[in-house]
């Protein structure tokens, strides 16, 4: 399928989100990929709870890394894979940086900037020359399962913590996915093929089952693995320059 690579990278983002969950953070994570070489050049995990900085979303942590590693000249050759639709702030930042493509799992019904609340990625008031393509719904159920596992816990740092005793963990039921909010029919067919069109029309997921193995795995090594991949990209770049 045309989206085989997209799924592969999104699986990594899901693993990283699971790592976040296991380490007490909101399970939202992302991977930045250099499109021409299909190599990972940065990653990010939500850090708002630990840092008490309301803007340290996963996307921003990844952007920090891109700059730290001096990859900023590659920004317009980069795709972002993130488990949850970027919020309005992140969608705007990504657009202002000139990132070319955004792939995400589930929608973000409260803050989403790639279709849920606003469509920053193709609006006219945020550098319209930088519009990026947006691909929703990749491993959506897996992203939702991780979020649900997080939201049954309470936010002790909030000024008035809400009691969540009566919230039950729902694992088998998923809300319909309103593709048309995020993607035109033409773009859907172009990416997923006309054989999947009924899913667009009936608001169903691409895959009916949840990859439980993926969301239940332990990924304590994932950060090391990603760092190794980023290193190898750096070497790859250096070799290219020395030629």
């Amino acid at each position: 399928m045309k989206i085989d690579y997209d799924i592969k990278f999104m699986e990594l983002a899901v693993k990283l989100a699971k790592y976040s969950l296991d380490h007490g953070e909101t399970p939202v994570a992302c991977i930045y990929v250099h499109i021409p070489s299909n190599k990972i050049i940065a990653y990010g995990m939500n850090d708002t709870n630990k840092s008490r900085l309301g803007i340290s979303h996963a996307e921003f942590m990844g952007i920090d890394q891109i700059y730290k590693n001096n990859f900023q000249h590659l920004l317009n050759e980069i795709a972002l894979y993130v488990t949850v639709e970027p919020c309005i702030m992140c969608a705007s930042a990504i657009k202002q940086l000139g990132i070319k493509k955004v792939v995400f799992g589930c929608g973000n019904e409260r803050f989403g900037g790639n279709g849920s609340i606003l469509s920053i990625h193709n609006d006219f008031c945020t550098l319209p020359t930088n519009n990026h393509s947006s691909l929703p719904g990749i491993l959506r159920k897996e992203a939702i399962v991780l979020l649900r596992q997080f939201y049954v816990r309470e936010n002790e740092r909030a000024p008035v913590p809400r009691s969540k005793n009566n919230r039950k963990l729902e694992l088998e039921e998923f809300p319909p996915f309103l593709w048309s909010k995020y993607l035109s029919k033409e773009d859907f067919v172009d990416t997923f093929g006309s054989e999947n069109l009924t899913k667009y029309e009936t608001d169903r997921d691409l895959f009916s089952s949840v990859n439980w193995k993926l969301v239940e795995g332990n990924y304590d090594n994932i950060v090391n693995e990603l760092e190794l991949q980023i290193n190898s990209f750096e070497q790859h770049k250096k070799r290219k320059f020395s030629l």
């Binding site: 708002t48 840092s51 008490r52 900085l53 309301g54 803007i55 952007i63 700059y67 900023q72 919020c87 309005i88 702030m89 969608a91 705007s92 930042a93 202002q96 940086l97 000139g98 019904e109 409260r110 803050f111 900037g113 609340i117 606003l118 920053i120 609006d123 006219f124 008031c125 945020t126 550098l127 740092r157 909030a158 000024p159």
Partner: protein
């Protein structure tokens, strides 16, 4: 909280201007309705833009009018956490005839159906007599839809009362918001003057420099309401990244010196020279600020007054108030910026 007529602050409620100086950028919620259709007749139905967008489903029961105090006591005692208890304009009771009336018990979020109510009563060992109400076609009517928002005008209020469920007009909510707010005009003016001067200074430096640094003359001030401590930030994109706008830098600076019990920018008010872009407006929502004051419009890229009204978009779980300096006697002019630039 003072009554409107006793408020020493001069407020023009029609145009939303405080002391001829600060113009409120109205929440989007209140601007989605047109205020002009006062001749609208309820029987002809409501204009599309006068219909509420969202509803709350609420449990409805039929009781004897003599039992009213018992039920109101029940609601007061057990339903205080329900959303309906935070909507005092919604009446609880609607008369059917001399003996019977309809009672709006609670939202379905609180008790999902009549069975749960039943169970609740027996758990608390309460004995309250009620019936399931019936509609005109004589089928049972267990719940009804109540408009989620407060009616935007008196006329709409009486229409909604007829169509949906009785409610009382308690005055324009925005008047109340403006009336309840504190305005330390001297402090507000001083803070805006400070960023205005800094901005013009930056612009001048830039003009006189031999080599342009490409710095944008955008300046922001974060002021802690409790301690008075102020943090000044400037646009840093020329030195670092295209997203290091003055507001983003300010939020990071506030966080860097946050006290042990501080929560994001909850205690801060923000003063900024130019209307912020989509990223910065949203970053301020995430940071939980309470108020923002600004000087100059950015008609293409600004996202408070000119696009989106982002400080008050409904589904976002938090909002802040926005005022623009409009005093022509004390003009606070800041440099023009390329209109396509996001600040």
């Amino acid at each position: 909280m003072v009554k409107k007529i006793n408020n020493p602050v001069k407020i023009d409620y029609v145009n939303c201007i405080v002391e001829d100086t600060l113009k409120q950028i109205k929440p989007s919620l209140l601007t989605t309705f047109s205020d002009s259709n006062s001749n609208d007749n309820c029987n002809n139905g409501l204009d599309e833009n006068q219909k509420p967008l969202n509803f709350i489903k609420c449990l409805l029961i039929q009781i004897k009018s003599t039992d009213t105090p018992k039920f109101l006591k029940f609601i007061k005692e057990y339903c205080s956490a329900d959303i309906l208890s935070r909507m005092p304009h919604i009446k609880r009771i609607k008369k059917i005839n001399k003996q019977d009336l309809l009672l709006l018990l609670c939202s379905l979020d609180f008790l999902p159906n009549i069975l749960e109510f039943e169970e609740f009563l027996s758990k608390k060992n309460l004995h309250l007599a009620y019936n399931k109400p019936r509609n005109d076609c004589n089928s049972t009517l267990e719940y009804i839809d109540i408009p989620e928002i407060y009616p935007p005008s008196k006329d709409i209020c009486s229409c909604w009362s007829e169509i949906y469920w009785p409610m009382t007009w308690r005055g324009n909510p925005n008047d109340q918001i403006l009336n309840d707010m504190e305005y330390n005009m001297t402090e507000i003016k001083n803070n805006l003057q400070l960023i205005c001067e800094k901005s013009n200074m930056k612009f001048k430096e830039e003009e006189e420099a031999k080599v342009s640094s490409k710095a944008l003359p955008v300046v922001t001030l974060f002021v802690n309401k409790k301690t008075g401590e102020a943090i000044l930030s400037t646009d840093e994109r020329h030195k670092s990244r295209p997203i290091d706008h003055s507001i983003m830098c300010g939020i990071r600076d506030v966080c860097a010196q946050l006290s042990e019990d501080g929560y994001l920018c909850l205690d801060y008010e923000v003063y900024t020279t130019h209307e912020p872009c989509s990223m910065c407006c949203m970053a301020l929502i995430h940071s939980r600020i309470s108020r923002l004051f600004y000087l100059k419009d950015m008609p293409k890229t600004g996202c408070l007054k000119n696009n989106y009204h982002m400080h008050s978009i409904k589904p976002l779980n938090s909002s802040y108030h926005v005022f623009q300096w409009v005093n022509e006697k004390i003009p606070l002019a800041v440099p023009n910026i390329d209109p396509d630039v996001c600040v």
